[in-house]
Every structure is written in C-alpha cells, then in structure tokens.
Amino acid sequence: MAERTILAARDLDFYYGEVQALRHISINIPAARVTAFIGPSGCGKSTFLRTINRMNDLIPAARAAGSLTFRGQEIYAPDVDVTDLRRRVGMVFQKPNPFPMSVYDNVAYGPRTHGIRDRRRLDLIVEESLRAAAIWDEVKDRLKKSAMSLSGGQQQRLCIARALAVEPEVLLMDEATSALDTISAARIEDLTLELRERFTIVMVTHNMQQAARISDKTAFFLAGELIEFGNTERIFSMPRDKRTEDYITGRFG
C-alpha cells in the first residue's frame, strides 16, 4: 500500500522566547501508520508533537516559523480554526488527565463541545469510543461513577476513549505509557496497534523497545534537529547516522 502523507513539515523552526527548540525540521508523516519520535530528553520531540495540534499556543512567547501542513493546510496560518484543528488532531498526554466528572461525561465531553446534545447519539458515541479504547467491559457498569476512581491504566484508556469520541484523523500520544505499570502499558500498546487501522498515530516515546514493537516509522531527534527518519525496521537494524546508532544502542540518552 502506497503511503499518503498527512502531516508535512518543511524547514520548521520553533522558539520558546529566545530559545530555539526546533531547527529546520522537514518530515513527511504518513497516514494510517504509527510514527514514533525518539530521542533524549529535551531534544524537541515533544515540542514537535505539540506543534501539530498547536498545544504550544498555551506557552507565552512561543512561535513557529517555516511550514507545517495537515492535509495540505498550513497549521500556523492566521485563519486556522484552532478548535477545529484540535478536534481533527487528538492528543493523549503523558499522565492520565481525566476530568473530575463521571466516566460517561468524560467521553461525552468532546462530542458535547462540538454540539451533539442528543442523548441517544451520545450514548452510542460513548459506548463505541470506550469499546475502541478496550475499556468498555471494565466500566460499562459504572459509567456514572467518577473517572477518578479508575486505576491509572484505566484512566489512560479512558483518556484515549475521550480523544476518540470526537473522531479525530490523527492521534498524538505524548509518552502515553510512561506513567503506567508494564501491564497497563502493554494494553495501551496493543490498543495502539488496533487503532492504527483507523487513525494516523504519532507518538513520543522514551522506550526504544516500544518504538521498535509498534511503530512503522521512526524519527530520531537530537538537540532540536531531526537526525534520521525512516522505516522503523531499517532505523533499528541499520541506522545511517552514527548518532542514531549511538542512541538506539544505549550509548547515550
């Protein structure tokens, strides 16, 4: 199957005030694949992930230069509807961050935000999303209970369900398993592989094995630059850049 590019960066620079966090990033992220960003802490991989849904807008004095497009549209163009962008590009965070409300209301939050009020339709969306996030069976009897009463792993899957409920085209996962125990992390990995059929997934991970196991493409970042990008198998078996090799063999990072 030929790869279609869904996200493309051309010479993207990103600054936090005076500090340049990204340098001339150029990359084509394919649709319906899992792309993993790896690299040592502070290398810019999370920053790049957060430029894709403009989550960095929250930080004062943050600005982007260069080109970053989603389905051909400039993400940082002045006329972009950021709320619509974020509906189409969902995000799962490092720490599970369910809202302090019921399981049901958490999942229904997004659809309600985008104007869906019909109770039956919401019921349907909530169930489908929870099923897609492989947590339906565990919470179907306590949809009215507070989401805070769930375990960490369940909370994270709930957050995935919440993100899926607005039917995004891309799902960004910012170290979504790093705060979880290994069993919960493995469940989320399996889930990621299932979701790949329907969504484009871009994930940041510190876990090399995880990147190797579940991603199709891997991008290696270092000091704000994209060092190498390619098929995961190739990156891990014969990296072209010495620095990539040093990093994935654990010589630094």
Binding site: G42, S46, F48, P96, Y109, S146, D174
Partner: protein
C-alpha cells in the same frame, strides 16, 4: 560518648524550654478567647429571648428588639455579595485565564492587596461621597451594601484567583486538546473544580460584612426600626443598622447594655455559623477535590513539554 553528654543535655533543655514557650502562648490565646466568649455569653444570654429576636424596639414599652437589625444584616450580606461576587469572580477569571500582560495582572494584584489592607473607615468615606451623595442613594442599606461590596471585592478577587491557579494545567490541556474553546474550558472544567475556593472566599467576605460597623454607620444609618422589605422601593429606601451597628447604638446611645450584649451574642453565633458553613462547604467540596488533587499534583510537576 561522654563527649556528647553535655550538648545532648543542653539540646534537651533547649527543646523543653521552646516547648514550654509555645505551649504558654497557645494557652494564653485559648484562654483569652474563652474568656471573651464566656463573658459575652454570660452577659448576653440572660437578655436573649425569642421575644427579642422576633420583635422590634419599642420606645413606649422601653423594650429592645433585634429583628430589624437581623433582617438588615441578612439584606446587607445578600446585596453586597450579589454585587461583589460576579465582579470579583469575573475579574479573577479575566486576570488568570485571559490577560496576556503580566504587568497588568501584577498591578491589579498589588492594588487589591493594598485595598484589602486599608482601614474600613476610608471605604466609609468613599461610600458617603460616591454612593450616598453623588449617586443620590442617601443613607440606605443599599448604599452601605454597595460600599461593602467594594470593600470585599479584593478578598473575593484574590481567593478566586488563588483557587483558579490550583486547577492543574493537565485539565486545561485535556479540554483544549478536545477542541474546546477557552470559555467552554473555563465553564465546564476549570470553574467546577475550584468552586470550593470561591465559596470559601464568599464566606470570608460575608464574615467581614457581618462584622463591619464603621462603614455602615456612615452609609446605612443607625435606625433600629423595622424597614419595609416587601417592595422593591422599600428595599431601595430602607435605612437602618445591622447587628454590629445596633450593638453600638444600644451600648452607646441607649446605654442598654443588656440589649447590647444580647446583640453581641447573636452576632457571635452568626459568625460561628458562617465559619461552620465555610468549613462544611469546604469539606464537602474538598472531598471531591482531594480525590483528583492527587494525580493532578503529579501532573503539574511533569506537565511541561519535555522531549
């Protein structure tokens, strides 16, 4: 071992002395409080009767009555909170959620801190000039309430701001990442999780209003007669004393100390009630809060972009 014996002894003595000192200050505080409350109750309780609480003063029979003052107090609390709450909460939301200029936020915070520290008699002056004269409200409960609204505004503003700041960034990010606009994020996620702080601020403000006398003497009048609360015009024109002011009137102008101490007891009970309500509300809302504060606290530490 022997070398350490002396310092160890000294340390023990030192810590015993410190303990004695803090114990002493604690007991002095408790005693003062107990004596004060005890004295007020001792003087006030005998004069307290259902009659007193449900009637107005009668000069013919020479009896005191606290009902008008009680109603005036409730009216002033309600009106001043109704005026200060939307303003204070609204301003706090603007400053913490919308304002881009750090300098503006800092200036307003500084101003409100100064304002919450200045003596209330200055607010009385402003109330007399602005509400009573310039706006033509004269000496009315309305003028008094509005003056007190200004006085309590900084309290409400600051407590709301503080509690807005405790809402973890991860909640905001969660809402925004789902395509929620800023106002929807505030209304559905931020405000519900800091209601307890706002309620606490309100109750603090109510406490100040209940205890305030100087401002009201100048702006709301000293009458202990029943006011007309049945019509809007009646409420607009009502002028009279709250419990705290009535206490002054009875003690200073009528030299009726039985009534004054009875008023003091009622005032004390009202303050206790307000404080109790504050704790109860805080705890009720806090139970929800604690459950979520735990994961939230962790997120705040590791929240930033780190890759």
């Amino acid at each position: 071992m022997a070398r350490n014996a002396r310092p160890a002894l000294r340390r023990q003595l030192y810590s015993a002395a410190v303990r004695l000192l803090v114990w002493l200050s604690a007991s002095v505080c408790c005693c003062l409080l107990a004596v004060l409350i005890g004295y007020i109750c001792w003087r006030g309780l005998p004069g307290l009767s259902w009659e007193l609480l449900t009637s107005e003063e009668s000069l013919l029979q020479g009896t005191a009555g606290l009902l008008p003052s009680l109603l005036n107090t409730l009216c002033v609390v309600a009106v001043s909170l109704a005026a200060a709450l939307p303003l204070g909460v609204g301003a706090a939301i603007y400053l913490t959620e919308y304002a881009r200029s750090r300098r503006l936020t800092a200036a307003v915070e500084f101003a409100s801190e100064v304002l919450s520290g200045i003596p209330s008699i200055l607010y009385a002056l402003v109330g007399v000039i602005v509400f009573c004269s310039a706006l033509g409200l004269q000496k009315t409960l309305l003028a008094g309430s509005l003056t007190l609204a200004i006085m309590t505004l900084p309290t409400i503003l600051r407590t709301t701001q503080e509690s807005l700041r405790t809402v973890p960034r991860s909640y905001r990010e969660g809402a925004l990442s789902l395509g929620s606009g800023r106002w929807r994020m505030i209304a559905t996620v931020v405000l519900p999780s800091c209601v307890d702080g706002i309620v606490t601020g309100c109750i603090l403000a109510a406490g100040r209003v209940v205890g305030e006398s100087a401002v009201l003497m100048y702006t709301a009048g000293l009458s202990t007669a029943m006011q007309d609360f049945s019509t809007i015009q009646g409420i607009m024109r009502a002028s009279g004393s709250t419990l705290a002011v009535a206490l002054y009137v009875y003690a200073k102008e009528r030299a009726d100390f039985a009534a004054a101490f009875a008023a003091a007891t009622v005032l004390l009970a009202l303050s206790a009630l307000i404080n109790l309500a504050a704790r109860l509300a805080g705890r009720r809302l806090g139970r929800r809060q604690r459950r979520k504060k735990h994961p939230a606290a962790l997120t705040r530490r590791q929240g930033g972009p780190h890759g």
